[in-house]
């Protein structure tokens, strides 16, 4: 690394290539290089901007905390557990939005986790080398498509398909389950869950792939040498990588929880709590997207900012936990 270096030669040169005698020793820093004002300024300039980035996160939290003071004071924790959302009477409870966010994210994870894991296993363990690069590129591209385009596709392709094909089929065969009751609107929790699944899949797949790759090859060799089949070897690798896969899942969950446009366009935007996935629902991000620009009273704005604050805290916790886990795993193997 380029940290501290010991220079044993007795003669140092200045930046102009002019030799200076060891007499100049007092101006040498501990690292053995001559102290250079340019170095000092440049280093601290970059340091300053790093600190700007760091403090930005705290500033964001603080500003939202201040901005939601009215509802924080008036409703306290009840804000999260009551379900009246009435801007006219200034009554705010965020439960239907929290419910919508949680359920749509869970539906998404339920679909995306097994699929994403399968993709990761294929990419890290099974794929022929020539296929791996284009496939990785495709999966990463899936993550780069803007949310609004997913939403557009959701409105014009996914929702009609669900309404005309999938939901009638589900309700005739599985209609006895409360999950699949009610009229087929197309718009609703199911559409939101599906579109979220497509969106978080690349995250889970690409991070799980990195984690699987970090598992040392000696483990695979040992399993194969003992006569294990490919699947038995993969199972052992998966066992080693399981905490990293948990990290990947948390990151995917973080993305699903905060996803706004695609969900807003297909979830139906009705603040109901219903067991059926067919029914329209609402999510925390969607209610901010739909109502923020029109929030007229200070309490209304404060309520919406408080929802943003909750989203902020939840995604920070999910991301922090996930990063720590993934870091821990990859570092453990790198030093091993």
């Amino acid at each position: 690394m380029t940290g501290k270096r010991i220079i044993t030669a007795p003669v140092e040169t200045t930046g102009d290539g002019e030799a200076i005698l060891p007499v100049a020793a007092p101006s040498l820093s501990v690292s053995g290089r001559r102290w250079n004002p340019g170095d000092f300024v440049f280093k601290h300039l970059t340091l300053f901007f790093s600190l700007v980035l760091l403090s930005l996160v705290f500033l964001m939290g603080y500003e939202m905390y201040r901005g939601s003071a009215i509802t924080l004071e008036k409703f306290g924790w009840e804000f999260l557990t009551t379900s009246t959302w009435d801007p006219v009477m200034d009554e705010y409870g965020a439960l239907p939005f929290i419910y919508g966010t949680v359920v749509s994210s869970l539906v998404a994870l339920l679909i995306a986790l097994p699929l994403g894991l399968g993709v990761a296993i294929f990419l890290a363990e099974l794929s022929p080398a020539w296929l791996e690069r284009p496939l990785s590129f495709l999966v990463e591209l899936l993550a780069a498509i803007p949310s609004i385009v997913y939403g557009l596709w959701g409105i014009f392709v996914l929702v009609p398909w669900l309404r005309l094909n999938v939901q009638p089929l589900l309700s005739t065969h599985l209609g006895f389950l409360p999950l699949f009751k009610g009229p087929a609107y197309g718009f609703g929790m199911l559409a939101a869950g599906l579109i979220l699944a497509v969106m978080v899949l690349p995250i889970i797949a690409s991070i799980s792939r990195d984690v699987l790759r970090a598992v040392p090859n000696t483990q695979r060799e040992a399993a194969l040498a003992l006569g294990g089949t490919r699947w038995e070897t993969t199972k052992i690798v998966l066992g080693t990588a399981k905490s990293g896969i948990l990290g990947a899942t948390l990151l995917g969950l973080g993305r699903a929880v905060g996803e706004t446009m695609a969900v807003t366009m297909v979830i139906g935007n009705r603040a109901d709590i219903s067991a059926s996935l067919f029914n329209p629902a609402y999510s925390m991000a969607s209610v901010i997207a739909n109502e923020f620009a029109e929030a007229t009273t200070p309490a209304y704005t404060s309520a919406l900012i408080e929802i943003a604050l909750v989203l902020f805290v939840v995604t920070i916790i999910l991301n922090a936990a996930a990063r720590l886990i993934v870091w821990g795993v990859t570092r453990k193997f790198r030093t091993a």
Partner: protein, 285 residues
């Protein structure tokens, strides 16, 4: 005569085959939506694209035709503002992380950059609203630019760091061995060597910021007229897509697809470019 061991062996082999097949199936199921979305958008979008889209203004409600010239300009201005605020901070922080960041403070900054990249874009929009819209008392391009700057910050920082780290150590050592001060080594030798990677990475970050909608809804708001003033509401491609997708007019829906294909095309090309550039870098050593 098959022994039990033999059966067991065949069973294990069959199971392994089955699981391999299952993994392949997962890949197919994962790639299918991408191909569906991509091909459908292309199909709808390319046929909807025409010269009018780029040079005409939006027509009043009910009148067919028109384009999104103002939204193209608006997105350009928003991205420009975002880059103006976001790039200096991101690039400098990235340099710090790569050159001086192997310490607890560097690890903390890196960690917070990663965490910041996970904060939902709608939340960033709310913060930009509090920081810019409230004090100014009205929606503005400036607020949208601030939101986009915060959103691109983590990507720019980490891309800059990673691209600098890809520069071989021998370059740095050569500079230092000639007695060039460290900062000059960084600015004159390391950065130019990493420039291609940093530039394409930043372009990709900008393209992705151009695809953001949520943080613009209540910062830049949107505008059906030509406006380039940064203290006024401004149009953007993504907000237009959102409005036009919800509208019950077929011609507006068509234009939404056209805008989507422009966005996707931009992001696809820049992803490809970034991939090619970084691949060359890897191949060099």
């Amino acid at each position: 005569m098959m022994t039990r061991e033999r059966w067991n062996f065949l069973w294990r082999k069959a199971k392994s085959r089955g699981m391999t097949l299952l993994a392949v199936l997962c890949v197919v199921l994962a790639v299918a939506p991408l191909i569906l979305i991509f091909s459908y958008t292309l199909l709808q979008g390319v046929s909807a694209l025409n010269m009018d889209f780029f040079i005409q203004m939006p027509k009043p409600v009910g009148e067919p035709g028109g384009g999104m010239a103002n939204a193209l300009a608006g997105t350009g201005i928003l991205i420009g503002l975002g880059a103006l605020f976001g790039l200096p901070v991101g690039i400098m922080a990235g340099i710090y992380l790569a050159e001086y960041g192997d310490n607890p403070l560097g690890a903390t900054v890196r960690f917070f950059a990663d965490v910041l990249s996970g904060v939902p874009s709608i939340v960033v929009g709310v913060v930009a609203y509090i920081l810019v819209v409230l004090p100014m008392n009205h929606f503005s391009a400036l607020a949208g630019g601030v939101a986009l700057a915060i959103l691109m910050l983590p990507t720019v920082t980490r891309t800059t760091e990673e691209m600098i780290r890809l520069v071989p150590h021998s370059y740095r050592e050569a500079g230092l061995a000639l007695g060039v001060p460290r900062w000059k080594t960084t600015v004159r030798i390391i950065l130019p060597s990493a420039l291609k990677g940093i530039t394409t990475g930043i372009l990709l970050a900008l393209a992705r910021a151009a695809g953001e909608t949520a943080p613009l809804l209540f910062t830049a708001l949107g505008n059906r007229f030509w406006s380039t003033a940064i203290d006024q509401p401004i149009a953007s491609l993504t907000v237009f897509i959102y409005d036009y997708a919800k509208a019950p007019f077929e011609d507006w829906n068509r234009q939404a697809w056209a805008a989507a294909v422009v966005l996707i095309g931009l992001i696809f090309l820049l992803s490809l470019l970034f991939r090619i550039v970084t691949r060359q870098r890897y191949a060099e050593h």
